[in-house]
């Protein structure tokens, strides 16, 4: 690796990291503001214009607060758990391409932390890792409410990861038909969603040429299942049993305070954003969109894909907030039933259906 290439890697990691931090801070503020609007409140309004600096102020406060360590904790795990929550959260987003690659001199810069050829597997692995943080935090706190929260987290993560993985498989299989062989690289999956569905059928061509070639259209069922699963995966309402305030106080983070609590909090919001980003990448075409190359100045055309990416992701993030404002919390057994009796059979059924359709289209029906 030459020096310029090395610096490009450093640059893109820093860019991705910076984007994620800025966006997360905005997300916390946005959620509070949007929830407030939905509940006819005002929301944060003091720190900075429209209270936009409120998250920073809260973060500073938590940073300087004492991190209380209760007597009964298992110290090693107790200290380790917040880090286990934050690190996978950052690593997941490193896989997501958030803009069109551009050239500096003759070096290509991809706007993505790292383009692994096993990107999706890495994401699944990291989101499973994040669950360890919750379980260990709950267990090591040596207190009853966190323990219950930890146990709930285990059950929830196992059930919903399966549905999430199955929904991903359907997309990957479909994506394999769109290009040259199967791929698990997110950059590649995004590339394959560029263009429109215009070439699908000559009869409907006038309509379909305006429909972007996103996976969500053929894979709508997988998208719905995937979205429900990521809401559960990030422990958000209506699946926020892990930290159900009204039942088990704070759940796994009841005994955490100060910067350690802030890390859990940060991880949750990073996960909301990065999971939405992954959903946007897999189903909504990632950064794809009309860039008007040649019509608009080159700089604008280069930035537009990032804006498209953020817009799609924020649409999904908004859905997260909207769900929280509207829906009551599911009960533990209802959560399990939804996971095992509806989502997983649904995802499996959809996988079979889409496999059949894909193979019929490729090889023709078996009776021919």
């Amino acid at each position: 690796m030459s020096w310029p290439e090395f610096w490009i890697v450093v640059l893109r990691v820093i860019l991705t990291f910076g984007l994620l931090l800025v966006v997360t801070i905005l997300n916390v503020w946005a959620e509070r503001k949007i929830l407030a609007k939905m509940q006819s409140r005002i929301g944060p309004s003091r720190a900075g214009p429209y209270g936009i600096l409120q998250t920073l102020a809260d973060g500073m406060k938590l940073f300087f607060k004492e991190s209380i360590t209760p007597r009964k904790v298992e110290l090693g795990m107790y200290v380790l758990a917040p880090f286990l929550a934050v690190i996978p959260a950052f690593l997941i987003f490193m896989m997501v391409p958030w803009g069109r690659p551009f050239m500096i001199g003759d070096h290509e810069v991809t706007l993505q932390g790292a383009d692994l050829n096993v990107g999706l597997l890495f994401i699944l692995a990291m989101s499973s890792m994040a669950v360890y943080a919750v379980i260990l935090a709950g267990w090591s706190s040596g207190s009853t409410y966190p323990l219950i929260g930890g146990v709930r987290a285990t059950a929830q993560a196992i059930s919903y990861e399966a549905a999430m993985g199955l929904a991903m498989v359907a997309v990957v299989m479909f994506s394999a038909t769109q290009g040259d062989g199967g791929t698990l690289s997110l950059a590649e999956i995004v590339e394959r969603q560029s263009g429109t569905w215009g070439d699908l059928s000559p009869a409907l061509q006038p309509v379909l040429q305006f429909v972007p070639r996103w996976n969500v259209f053929p894979q709508i069922v997988a998208f719905v299942i995937f979205f429900i699963a990521i809401v559960a995966e990030t422990n958000r309402a209506p699946f926020d049993l892990v930290e159900a305030e009204q039942e088990i106080v704070g759940g796994f983070h009841t005994e955490y305070s100060g910067i350690r609590f802030a890390m859990f909090f940060l991880a949750e919001y990073i996960n909301i954003f990065s999971m939405s980003a992954i959903a946007a990448t897999l189903f909504l075409g990632g950064w794809n969109g009309p860039t008007f190359d040649g019509v608009l100045p080159g700089f604008v055309s280069a930035v537009l894909p990032t804006i498209y990416f953020l817009a799609k992701t924020y649409f999904l993030v908004f859905l997260f907030f909207w769900l929280r404002a509207t829906l009551p919390r599911l009960r533990y057994d209802q959560l399990m039933q939804l996971g095992w009796k509806r989502l997983i059979p649904g995802a499996l059924g959809w996988l079979i259906v889409s496999t059949l359709v894909i193979s019929f289209r490729q090889f023709g029906p078996p009776w021919s």
Binding site: L35, M38, Q39, S40, R41, T144, Y145, I148, V151, R152, A237, P238, D240, L241, A244, E245, Q246, E247, I248, V249, R324, A325, T326, L327, P328, R329, L330, R331, Y332, D333, Q334
Partner: protein
């Protein structure tokens, strides 16, 4: 002997840095539940004393039981209620409400206040339905004295207490929504409650703890333009209730969280002296406004909404329907508001108008006597109950002929309703606990007094 030495050993406090803690947590005496208890106490705690057949007998006994303290500092115990739960995984086997954290001796305080001061005291008991507390107390005083209040005072009392019922049920709805996780419902309920509190404030001067209903009538006439304000409330509320239905009644998650949860049978409800919406949700048609009408409420037309299953959902529906019925009563009172005095014209009971004090020596003397020693109430005892939003709110009053009650006791509906928690929650899931507590709508000020 051994017990004595034991208790002296545990008084040492735990000192920071020492290895072994000598610290014994404070106990609540007989109120606590412990892992080992006698058979008869276990029966009571499991709710076996009263027949109940809806418990599912799923046995998961792997010896992994833990006792959890829920409260008194907990987000959803509605104040300072403390529950001890014996959990087996997520399932509650035993539970026990522990009360007394808000006990301020208000019944005793009442013995040191004159009859005219007493309303300031009772209004602070059930702080979500202060006017009902005042009404019960004043009805008791008036019964002992044999005072007839003018028809306008009666009508104002009904108007205010029925509005108060709506505002109290709105809080119940809001907190019930909140506890099940519908956070927006919390804000909406309190937002609509403001409409009513604004009305109450305009007339009484205060949003809570009004001290508005006094022996002999009410403290002041309705504020000018009250009809317009009521019209706004009557117009606005049904629209908002329809929105709540969109948010809750038509929401599958809400239905699955409330239907079949926290079931109370009619036998249990009667056995535990449960009153109010919690009783009516079981299908028992018992409303004091119909059974023992007070303040002329029998002149207005309204229905008593009933449930059938006695679960959280039925209690929620009964409350919503009751709000509609209360608004119906309010509308009728508004249309038929009699003219006349808003308090009895008896200078031994009610103070003279302010203007009279400047002109009349006699009025000044009455005023002075009323506010220094108060009026005397003939010897006797009485019990008067009104239908508060939580159930039968009764006032038992004994007078020895002086200016202060000899004894005042409040039959608090929340207190009686709380008794049913152990049998309602036995063998249910932890998440159902909060739904059940919220649907019983306890006000800790009412429980502890």
């Amino acid at each position: 002997m051994s017990d004595e030495t034991k208790s002296t050993e545990t008084v040492d406090l735990w000192i920071a840095g020492t290895e072994e803690s000598q610290f014994a947590p404070t106990d609540e005496g007989a109120q606590e539940i412990s892992a080992e208890e006698s058979e008869s106490r276990l029966d009571a705690q499991f709710g076996r004393v009263v027949e109940d057949d809806y418990l599912f007998d799923e046995v998961v006994d792997d010896g992994e039981r833990m006792i959890v303290n829920m409260g008194p500092q907990h987000p959803s115990t509605h104040g300072v209620l403390r529950l001890q739960l014996e959990l087996e995984g997520e399932i509650i086997r035993r539970s026990k409400p522990i009360i007394g954290y808000l006990h301020t001796g208000m019944e005793k305080t009442a013995e040191g206040l004159t009859f005219s001061q007493g309303t300031t005291n009772v209004t602070r008991m059930d702080y979500l339905a202060p006017l009902h507390g005042e009404l019960a107390y004043c009805l008791a005083v008036e019964e002992l004295m044999g005072v007839e209040v003018p028809p306008r005072a009666d009508a104002i009392r009904i108007l205010m207490t029925e509005l108060n019922r709506v505002s109290s049920h709105l809080v119940a709805l809001a907190t019930n929504g909140m506890d099940i996780g519908a956070v927006s419902m919390m804000i909406y309920g309190f937002r609509e409650r403001e409409l009513i509190l604004d009305f109450l404030e305009k007339t009484t001067g205060l949003r809570m703890n009004h001290n508005y209903i006094r022996p002999g009538g009410v403290a002041a006439d309705l504020h000018p333009g009250w009809k317009d304000d009521i019209a706004v409330i009557l117009e606005e509320m049904p629209i908002r209730f329809a929105q709540y239905d969109d948010l809750l009644r038509n929401n599958p998650i809400w239905l699955s969280r409330t239907k079949g949860v926290g079931v109370i049978t009619p036998e249990e409800a009667i056995g535990y002296a449960i009153t109010g919406p919690a009783l009516r949700a079981t299908g028992v048609d018992w409303d004091l406004r119909k059974a023992f009408p007070y303040s002329g409420i029998e002149n207005y037309e309204f229905d008593v909404p009933l449930g059938s299953k006695g679960d959280v959902y039925d209690r929620y529906r009964v409350r919503v329907d009751e709000m509609h019925e209360s608004l119906k009563i309010v509308e009728q009172v508004m249309d038929a508001m009699p003219k006349g005095d808003y308090r009895v014209d008896d200078r031994k009971v009610t103070p003279p108008p302010r203007a009279r004090i400047d002109e009349s020596m006699e009025a000044l003397i009455h005023h002075f006597k009323l506010f220094t020693e108060g009026f005397k109430v003939p010897e006797g005892e009485t019990y008067v109950a009104v239908e508060s939003p939580r159930g039968e709110l009764g006032c038992y009053l004994v007078s020895d002929g002086g200016a202060m009650p000899y004894r005042m006791h409040t039959r608090a509906p929340s207190f009686a309703n709380l008794q049913a928690l152990p049998i309602t929650m036995a063998d249910s899931l932890m998440a159902d606990t909060v739904a059940t507590i919220a649907s019983m709508d306890p006000v800790m000020g009412d429980v502890d007094r």
